[in-house]
Amino acid sequence: MTHKLNVPNLSAAAWPEEGLTRVPYFLYDDPAVYALEQERIFRGRSWNYVALAAEVPAAGDFARSYVGDTPVIVARDKDGDVQVFVNRCPHRGAQLCQSWSGNAKAFTCPYHQWTFDLKGRLRGVPLRKGVNGLGGMPADFDPARHGLQRLAVTVRGGVVFASFADDVPGFAEYLGPSNLAYFDRVFDGRGLRVLGKQRQRISANWKHVIENIRDPYHATLLHTFFVTFRLWRADQDYAMKLDATGGNAVQFIQKVDRGPTEATRETTSRHADVRLADPRVVEAVPEFADGKSGAMQTIWPNLIVQQTLNSLATRHAVPHGPGEFELHWTFFGYEDDPPEMVERRLRHANLYGPAGLVSADDSEVLNVVQLGATKGPAGRAVVELGGAGTADAEGMVNETMIRGFYKHYRQIMGI
């Protein structure tokens, strides 16, 4: 079932003639673009992150989530499988589930008490045969045709993805080899332990946050905290790898400790002599065999996987209309983490989320970008750092990953 849209201006001709080095600002507030994204990206052939399987460990456990802006229920059935349903009663459309999470034997609609089992099958319709021979469903009403709308589900390394499409490629093929390797590096098969949620609603289009993660250029310029306390430097070893589509990208850093260079002087702190009063907030221990101190990955369309210091999190960008999105952070560790590692993960979370000593900068600046880009005459962003290509790259002063995102975006959107 596809929605017929009437958006005559949305064609390849709408894109600036320079190509991927320009991103037109109408992408951030046009309702027709937003509607088309929901249809072609989020309800198209994509694997959408919905939850960690550890959020629903036992039969009957459920959690609310989203595929694009469509509310869904993630549930564990009695066979131990994870199911994902549209959070909508097929009778009259009421939302079945109003809690963030819980445990249920079945889902019952509050409106007319239609009841669905944990596989989404319709199990009960009150007064189905009518009362005193009056009314009721027709004799040919078939409950098997009125279950909850189920999405395709794939689980890898304890991470649950869902798709409205039944012909989406397998997850390994979807990610491509280099990005799959980094996904498996964090989600290596160890049991995950959920440490908790941070959620924020940001007054900006959802794509801004994906671009933000794919933009290492800003990290040492906007994030003064990183520079002040010498956590990041513009000249550090830095590499980016994109899959063939451009939709998936990973970037990683090696923590380096060298003397000042020309690059660090240009981005240097005015507070070079300051020290943290309690440095535990950034004291990390290496925990991955490759020795890399951090890797950030964006998985098409709207998942960010964060491994920085000893902080691990998924960040799920949920669109909420053209000019707003929600960022749902799920912080986690591993079931076999010793207590001191759990403490580090909790401490390092001070850098991230809506109150993050670093990430709060991003939340604020995304709002500022939205306001600037979408008001006034038509315009477009300039994305030329590192050239015009979308290949793998090294160094932080490079926008190849933003261009890669829009290469795939244009392909999927047909613009």
């Binding site: 963030w100 999470s101 959920v194 440490l195 908790g196 949620k197 941070q198 959620r199 924020q200 609603r201 940001i202 007054s203 906007l222 003064t224 905290f225 002040t228 507070h271 300051v274 943290l276 009063a277 309690d278 535990r280 907030v281 929600e326 912080f331 759990v342 909790l346 401490r347 979370a349 001070n350 989320g353 809506p354 109150a355 000593l357 990430s359 709060a360 900068d361 939340s363 604020e364 600046v365 709002n367 500022v368």
Partner: protein, 158 residues
């Protein structure tokens, strides 16, 4: 540790002065309302009820409060705003080895340049207070936001 009973006027003044320091942008005054070994946490009702230990903001010492103040004053980027904290319903609910246990409700209003005033956050705080000399201080302060969703960002303490 002193077993001196808590003067309710001192408790009310502690909440009011702490809120005023933050509302007035005098962030450097804020850590002094806490003991050296304090804990200061901002979390959500959702995390608390699920037993999830993550917090939006989690300081385990007065040093971490000082670092947060440094970030607010020197390193964080945020658009200009005015915040107004209303603290009400302060009450003592018991005592433990760590001090007297207090509860209060709070609301934080926020005014951005060119915008109406909005309600930024509401919630309750689970606090432990004790005297250091003559001064009543927070030994623990846990601010629990009613909503799981923070509007934009939370650069400042509650």
């Amino acid at each position: 540790m002193t077993t001196r009973p808590i003067d309710r006027n001192d408790l009310a003044a502690l909440y009011a002065e702490c809120a005023a320091a933050l509302d007035d942008g005098e962030y450097e005054r804020w850590p002094a309302f806490f003991t050296e070994d304090c804990s200061y946490v901002v979390t959500t009702k959702e995390n608390l009820e699920r037993g999830w230990p993550i917090a939006l903001l989690s300081c385990e010492s007065r040093g971490m409060l000082l670092d947060r103040v440094f970030a607010v004053q020197k390193t964080l980027f945020y658009v200009p705003r005015v915040q107004r904290r209303l603290v009400g319903g302060a009450r003592l609910v018991g005592a433990g080895d760590d001090g007297a246990h207090a509860r209060a409700s709070f609301a934080v209003f926020e005014t951005l340049v060119g915008e109406h005033t909005t309600l930024f956050a509401a919630g309750r705080s689970l606090d432990v207070v004790r005297y250091e000399g003559d001064a009543l201080k927070f030994a623990k302060r846990t601010c629990v936001l009613d909503s799981s969703l923070v509007p934009n960002s939370l650069p400042f303490p509650i």
